[in-house]
């Protein structure tokens, strides 16, 4: 391959493991930050020191305590009892977060791409040199193409710091794959119906629900901490759980009703449930009359969506469709049709989530106890900075006329616009990527690589040598969340709340906190006016004092909950509510959808089925891993170090497959997995699908525990169904077949 940007294995370098902590750090590590705590039991000796943090292993951001021994060595991390996200209990990933700090494969020093004897390689660089180079290239890009040609992709806490930098530089192209690759359709589906989004953590009141319907969500395997805790409480209280999944998930095993649906037909089930509720007059009439518009159109629209019609599509027994609808009615309004999180499946996802929203409205559960509550967030002022410059182009202009309902930046839209076509040389020339392995997060890797090839500058800021680092011009080693400050966590929840993350220890190696990197780089770009604080502690203290607390207090308590400003967690009986939609009502018939040229009421579209000998590729989560980012964590790989392929026994028999047997997979576009995956023959998966956990099959040898373990689903997701409403990348329309002679494919796979 003769690309300008060849992949560099970081392992090719003699990276010194012992690098002194940089002299540039300004973090106060004095004993004042180390509170010594005494256990509540009287007369007991003093224990470990602890400092507050909020977890960065996933987006749930649970607040907790990092415990250290007398030598300052991190021993364990536990949840903060006062935190609404975790109630004092971390999930396995958070408990094992300690492994991210101790992982000896971490990025250790800044790296710069260089050519030696015609071969591209990385060389170690000082922070000064690396940041100088980035600043120079960013200035070049600004001069030649305009500041708007720089984009930022981020996932996690670093985004706030680099976002500030990018806005000051003159670009608003700041994208997170958590929108168009994940939860975007549900936000747009609910926004167009209720005029409000779901937020994170989700505003669902599982704690008090009487019926929880999981459709395409495998809670318990996806370890959304607070939700898993509340689901368990719901089980204790005898709430009904209904799970819709082609796979007998953990949640299915805890459900009163499991609906083993044929994949890709969820819309038919949802429409049929709507039909049953309306035909039997099982909907909340008072609520619908008081709060909604478009009921008559909806009623007319779903007339033909009978349970018998849905049976032919979903394979779900019509009686079961009626029975489960009755369960929802009986529980209403304390019923939750879970909006899910990763919902970019088939390209009509916004419409499917509209159907979920409509059901929610018919059951009267939005704004009601046991349904959806009204979250509240603390009004935390930002440290004053000058107004940001207005860039010549907004990101939505690079995908002009498309994805008009997207309420956040569409990551794949930016990626697509980077690729030169015809006369267009590409609308982006520089990317900063922080905390996301774009090659695993965005589907269609070939396309992402094409975009990368067209860049003048790719900066990757990460803690780990993820695959993307191999394509970077400059690699910056970020320290882990246990070694740094970040912005105050300020989340929407039942009660407004703030949480502090502070360093438990000095950054290892030459790694640096994102906030420091962004501020230093701003200095080199002449943008210090947007980072006017001496150090981040000063900025945080300013903010916290405005909130009536202080950095010192937050170091002691970690989390502060505030009383709600308005007493509106739930709607009052018969209360008139104004919704933030065009009509001010809940729009069963969506005027936004209609105006944008989309179906104002959700319709069923048949999706492609697997060709002969192929099986639908379904992927999901394991409770001990987050995406691809934990696959090298020593504590978590100890629990699960590879993914396996779930295969129904009938299929296994047909192919002569046995549990434990390694196979390679080939998809509909003849893409073959780089590595083999072990088969797990199990009754828990339908015969028309196979299942694997996302995030494995890493191919950077520098990830010593993750390299070559299992298969990357992303590399097999080459067919993407784009949601025209908001740009979501539907990833469930890919099919795979087995290659049992794994050695014969070695050559092909390398291509």
């Amino acid at each position: 391959m003769s690309t300008r940007r060849s992949f560099i294995k970081i392992s090719a370098l003699g990276l010194g493991g012992i690098a002194a902590a940089g002299g540039l750090t300004r973090m106060a590590m004095g004993s004042s930050v180390m509170d010594t705590i005494t256990k509540k039991t009287p007369g007991k000796e003093k224990l470990l020191h602890r400092t507050p943090t909020y977890c960065e292993i996933c987006f749930w951001q649970c607040a907790g305590w990092v415990y250290k021994d007398d030598e300052g060595k991190i021993k364990k991390i536990v949840g903060n009892e006062d935190d609404q996200h975790c109630n004092g209990r971390f999930c396995p990933r958070g408990t094992g977060g300690i492994g991210q700090y101790y992982d000896e494969d971490r990025l250790k020093t800044p790296l710069i791409r260089t050519t030696i004897d015609g071969k591209q390689t990385f060389r170690e660089a000082s922070w000064d040199e690396a940041l100088d180079l980035i600043a120079k290239k960013m200035k070049d890009i600004a001069g030649k193409y305009g500041t708007e040609s720089m984009a930022l992709f981020s996932h996690g806490s670093g985004g706030a710091h680099f976002g500030q930098l990018l806005k000051a530089f003159g670009s608003t192209s700041i994208a997170a794959p958590s929108f168009a690759q994940c939860r975007g359709p549900r936000e747009v589906g609910f926004l167009t119906t209720f005029g409000d989004i779901i937020y994170s953590p989700e505003r669902i009141d599982i704690r008090d629900t009487r019926c929880l319907v999981l459709i395409g969500s495998h809670l318990g395997e996806n370890m959304h901490n607070g939700q898993v805790q509340e689901m368990s409480d719901a089980i204790d209280r005898g709430a009904t759980i209904i799970t819709v999944d082609p796979r007998f998930s953990t949640a299915a095993g805890k459900s009163k009703h499991w609906l083993p649906i044929k994949p890709a037909t969820d819309m038919a089930l949802l429409l049929s449930w709507i039909h049953v509720l309306i035909e039997n007059e099982w909907y909340d009439k008072e609520y619908v009359a008081l709060h909604t518009t478009g009921f008559e159109q909806l009623k007319e629209h779903v007339k033909t969506y009978t349970p018998e019609w849905a049976y032919g599509i979903t394979t779900i027994d019509p009686n079961m469709i009626v029975e489960t609808a009755r369960e929802m009615r009986d529980a209403s309004p304390a019923v939750i049709i879970n909006p899910g999180r990763h919902v970019t499946w088939y390209g009509d996802d916004t419409q499917r989530l509209r159907a979920v929203a409509i059901l929610t409205a018919l059951l009267g559960s939005w704004g009601r106890r046991g349904g959806y509550y009204q979250p509240e967030k603390f009004h935390l002022p930002s440290f004053p900075v000058p107004a940001f410059p207005t860039p010549k182009r907004q990101p939505s202009q690079v995908y002009e006329g498309k994805y008009t309902l997207a309420n956040e930046v569409v990551a794949n839209g930016i990626c697509d616009a980077t690729i030169p076509t015809g006369l267009d040389k590409g609308k982006y020339k520089g990317w900063i990527v922080n905390g996301t392995n774009l090659l695993a997060a965005l589907p269609d890797q070939a396309k992402t690589l094409k975009a990368i090839e067209a860049l003048d500058l790719l900066v990757v800021v990460d803690t780990m040598p993820i695959e993307l680092t191999g394509y970077a011009d400059v690699v910056l080693p970020e320290c882990t969340y246990l070694e740094r400050y970040d912005m105050i966590r300020n989340s929407n929840h039942r009660q407004p709340n703030l949480a502090l993350r502070m360093p438990a220890t000095e950054p290892k190696y030459k790694s640096k906190p994102a906030e420091w990197i962004a501020k230093e780089l701003a200095g080199k770009l002449g943008l210090s006016a947007w980072f006017p604080w001496e150090n981040i502690e000063e900025m945080l203290d300013w903010q916290l004092k405005k909130a009536g607390t202080s950095l010192d207090e937050m170091k002691r308590i970690g989390v502060k909950n505030f009383p709600r400003e308005t007493d509106d967690l739930y709607f009052k009986e018969g209360e008139e509510v104004s919704f933030n939609t065009n009509s001010g009502k809940i729009e069963l018939y969506s005027s936004d959808m209609e105006a944008a040229g989309f179906a104002p009421l959700p319709v069923y579209t048949a999706h492609e089925e697997p060709p002969d000998g192929f099986y639908r590729l379904i992927y999901g989560r394991a409770p001990m891993h987050t995406f691809s980012r934990t696959a090298n964590n020593p504590n978590l790989t100890d629990l699960m170090d590879e993914n396996v392929l779930w295969v129904n026994p009938k299929v296994a028999k047909l192919w002569g497959l046995e549990s434990g047997q390694p196979v390679k997979l080939k998809n509909q576009d003849d893409v073959i997995s780089t590595f083999p995956i072990k088969v797990r023959v199990t009754e828990r998966i339908r015969w028309d699908s196979v299942y694997m956990v996302h995030g494995f099959g890493h191919n950077n040898p520098k990830l010593t525990r993750a390299f070559g373990r299992g298969v990357s689903d992303t590399e097999l997701i080459t067919r993407v169904h784009i949601d025209p409403a908001m740009g979501g990348t539907g990833m469930r329309g890919n099919f795979v077949t087995f290659i049992t002679d794994i050695n014969n494919t070695e050559k092909e796979a390398e291509v």
């Binding site: 536990v78 318990g220 370890m223 901490n225 007998f248 499991w258 009754e683 015969w687």
Partner: protein
């Protein structure tokens, strides 16, 4: 005093948080564990049932491991908790062979290790064992069976339960709510 634990199989999701928390709390080296998760599936698609449970040493009232230990390293401690004294353990492995539950492992430092119910480091300080404290589903109950108000006594009074391999006659003190 009789310490016991109950695990609610209806709530356990098999996340293994109990395993990591035990490792970080008790300095269990990576690659080893004192507790683990078992998943059993029954039936054929779509008529399936699954049971998930977090297992560990059963702190048997009639433990073959204590009986067969040649040095007395394996012993009953406060509340019937079965412990190993590392200094006395010669690493012969007789207890590993005798345990019907495969609850013990040879620690790389040359002694045999297993679940302690966190007796010394937590329970005696009024805390729950690490696994019980961390579990996101709150599916584990711990306490003294002689105290009718302890969480474990209360839950065993109200729920159906089983023990593992009762026919081994070990009288396990780890109960599974079913």
């Amino acid at each position: 005093m009789r310490y016991a634990m109950a695990v609610d199989t209806h709530k356990c999701v098999g996340c293994s948080d109990c395993v990591v928390a035990c490792q970080t709390e008790n300095n269990v080296p990576i690659g080893y564990c004192r507790d683990w998760v078992v998943e059993v599936t029954d039936g054929t698609y779509p008529n399936l049932e699954a049971e998930i449970r977090s297992e560990r040493c059963n702190h048997c009232e009639n433990s073959p491991c204590v009986r067969c230990c040649p040095t007395g390293a394996s012993h009953y401690a406060e509340g019937g908790v079965v412990l190993v004294t590392p200094e006395k353990c010669i690493g012969c492995g007789a207890c590993i062979a005798s345990c019907p539950y495969d609850a013990r492992y040879p620690h790389p430092d040359g002694y045999v290790d297993k679940c302690t119910f966190c007796l010394e480091n937590r329970v005696k300080k009024g805390l729950n064992p690490a696994c019980v404290s961390v579990c996101p589903t709150k599916c584990m109950y711990f306490g003294d069976l002689d105290d009718p108000n302890s969480p474990v006594s209360k839950v065993l009074k109200n729920r159906k339960y089983k023990t593992l391999i009762p026919e081994a006659g070990t009288n396990p003190q780890l109960y599974f709510l079913i």
